[in-house]
């Protein structure tokens, strides 16, 4: 009788231990998954931001009339002139976001494109971008225009480009704050409020 009780007791305890173990395993894997997704979006954001800053800081570099450096400005598309590779030839650079990527588990994800011509070479420096937004301010910090794209006669007034970038993971992971039952996308966000090229304001 004692032996039977021992067997039943140990089986129940063993089952509990097994359940706890499996639960722990699931939890740890979810955490690892979420951390990995966090890391991915953060690294993507840092990479994209580095490229955006590298390009935007050169707006107007070696352009005869720097006031004419920005040739198109919309909330999610910017076209400007700069000698990007410092070879004495002025390039046309364009940044824009593409449409939403329907095949992704996260329907908000878009591709961010960078095109440098001559050559019309398009690269997509960032996947997972869900927001790429620009606001254009003048020398006094006021909005250059209330309508977009910015009218061509106001492009020369652009002094500061306030840029916002948001990156989300393409798939959902366990919410690290609210608990593993809730699934969310890992998110990283960046906003530069004073991104301005010295070249577009050098003359006067």
């Amino acid at each position: 009788m004692t032996v039977i009780l021992d067997l039943i007791g140990s089986t129940v305890l063993g089952a509990f231990v097994l359940l706890i173990g499996l639960n722990l395993n699931e939890s740890v894997i979810a955490t690892a998954d979420a951390s990995g997704a966090d890391l991915n979006v953060q690294e993507t954001l840092v990479d994209v931001v580095g490229t955006v800053e590298y390009d935007f800081r050169k707006i107007g570099y070696m352009v005869n009339d720097p006031k004419m450096s920005i040739i198109y400005a919309d909330t999610s598309r910017l076209r400007f002139l700069a000698d990007m590779d410092n070879n004495g030839s002025v390039d046309t650079v364009e940044w824009y976001v593409g449409p939403q990527r329907n095949r992704m588990p996260n329907p908000r994800v878009r591709a961010l494109y960078r095109r440098v011509s001559p050559g019309n070479f398009v690269t997509a420096p960032g996947l997972g971008i869900v927001e790429f937004k620009m606001i254009f301010r003048d020398v006094n910090g006021a909005l250059v225009s209330s309508t977009y794209p910015v009218p061509s006669n106001k492009l020369s007034s652009i002094w500061i480009i306030e840029t916002t970038l948001k990156v989300e993971s393409p798939y959902q992971v366990a919410d690290q704050v609210m608990g593993t039952d809730r699934m969310v996308n890992a998110v990283a966000f960046w906003r530069q409020t004073r991104l301005a090229s010295r070249n577009i304001k050098r003359h006067g």
Partner: protein, 439 residues
């Protein structure tokens, strides 16, 4: 059962520990990612701080050349200033470094670089520059000037950077398309056109003076003597440029009795592009191909009334810079005394047009129509280039709303002159920023 439980728990612990270590490393990597971005941003900001320091030192003292090293914002920067060419262009190179702790124990250094190029402000960059807004018109036979205030009023438009070393006299609503600067704030009352309410399309800044060193004219003369073309005294020189690239030199300018020579190109006449006449006038016209700066200098005695450049007719580029900003044809006109659009012996009507494509600099006088208040009607004048003058003047006289003498005028700035100049075109001692490169 006991052994199995122990093995199970040990195995589970091992798996969980391994995964947790991975999670920990992921978190660390995540922090590293931001740490690196922070480091890059800091290094960049430190480099910018160093560049701003170097820029201010150079702008405040054009002779400043000392390299500098300093600590700032948890890092350090160093900069050096190099001379780039005989014109005195300078390059400021700033390197910044900041040390970060990567993965807790390992140190890493992140650096950044900023490069800036400065040049002495060339007077060709201005759409309109004057030492003062006073009437300094000198007739060909007298150095007397009226010296009265000259006003920019409604209907006057200036394209390209505009500057006067004293003050603007503004009545009504003159229009400034680009930035306006001056030594002091403008006079806005007491002139024609009512109270001044100017339109500063690109802003304004007062308290700025830009010196015009006379030494630049001596340097031009030396350059012409060494590797250009120098005409010293004698009769006035005529230069007729041809679209083929050739230049015809006539002395005297009207007959060519002393010399009448055709040079195949500007370079054949003056290899460095500098053509200087001293104690004489130079008369120019035609279509030029290539780059040149034509300079007329005053002399002493009877030469005191010389040093004028006369536009006998159109003077335009072979490749029109107004329609092709990539045109490499570029002309500088430098007159120590006056630059005139000739009217004596030139027949024009109200329908006539005269076009000049050049940067014009007058050291002591101004630029106008010869005898603008008594020459009759000479049509319209178009300038595509820039003006840097000692003072202002009129182009015509008006009666009943119509021009009775002189020419109507239309000035447009050549945007190429913002970054390029005709050969050795006069420049100030002051430096200005030409390009700013950030990594």
């Amino acid at each position: 059962m006991g052994k199995a439980s122990i093995i199970f728990i040990a195995g589970l612990s091992l798996i969980v520990t391994t995964i947790l270590m991975r999670v920990g490393k992921t978190s660390t990597d995540s922090a590293d990612s931001y740490s690196e971005y922070y480091g890059r941003t800091m290094a960049h900001n430190i480099a910018l701080a160093g560049a701003n320091v170097g820029t201010q030192l150079l702008l405040a003292d054009p002779t400043y050349k000392t390299a500098r090293k300093d600590s700032f914002g948890g890092g350090s920067y160093s900069f050096k200033i190099d001379s780039l060419n005989p014109q005195g262009d300078r390059r400021l190179t700033v390197s910044a470094q900041i040390r970060l702790y990567d993965n807790i124990s390992e140190k890493s250094t992140i650096g950044d670089t900023v490069k800036a190029v400065f040049r002495r402000t060339p007077f060709s960059k201005y759409g309109y520059f004057s030492e003062s807004e006073r009437n300094v018109y000198r007739s060909p036979t007298s150095n007397t000037t009226s010296g009265g205030n000259m006003w920019k009023t409604t209907g006057d438009s200036i394209f390209g950077p505009a500057h006067t070393n004293l003050r603007w006299n503004l009545g009504g609503t003159p229009y400034f398309h680009d930035k306006v600067t001056a030594g002091t704030s403008p006079l806005l009352s007491g002139g024609p056109g009512g109270a001044g309410n100017p339109v500063y399309n690109a802003g304004y800044q007062w308290g700025i003076t830009v010196s015009r060193p006379a030494a630049r004219l001596n340097e031009l003369e030396a350059l012409a003597s060494s590797n250009g073309r120098f005409f010293n005294g004698g009769s006035d020189v005529g230069l007729t440029f041809d679209a083929s690239g050739s230049v015809r030199v006539k002395i005297p300018w009207s007959t060519g009795a002393v010399r009448d020579t055709v040079y195949a190109s500007i370079a054949a006449l003056a290899p460095n592009g500098i053509i200087v006449g001293k104690s004489i006038d130079i008369r120019v016209q035609g279509t030029y191909q290539g780059q040149a700066t034509v300079v007329a200098r005053t002399g002493t005695s009877t030469g005191a009334l010389k040093g004028n450049v006369w536009f006998q007719d159109n003077l335009v580029a072979a490749t029109n810079p107004a329609t092709n900003p990539n045109s490499t044809d570029m002309m500088g006109i430098v007159a120590e005394r006056m630059a005139y659009i000739a009217t004596t012996g030139v027949t024009r009507t109200s329908a006539s047009t005269t076009t000049v494509q050049a940067a014009i600099y007058t050291h002591n006088g101004t630029f106008s129509v010869e005898n603008y208040n008594g020459c009759g009607v000479h049509g319209k004048f178009f300038l595509h280039g820039g003006l840097a003058l000692s003072g202002s003047t009129n182009f015509n006289t008006v009666s009943g709303g119509s021009i009775t003498n002189g020419m109507s005028k239309n000035f447009r700035h050549d945007s190429r002159f913002l970054t390029q100049s005709p050969p050795y075109f006069p420049f100030s001692d002051k430096y200005e920023l030409v390009s700013w490169w950030e990594k």
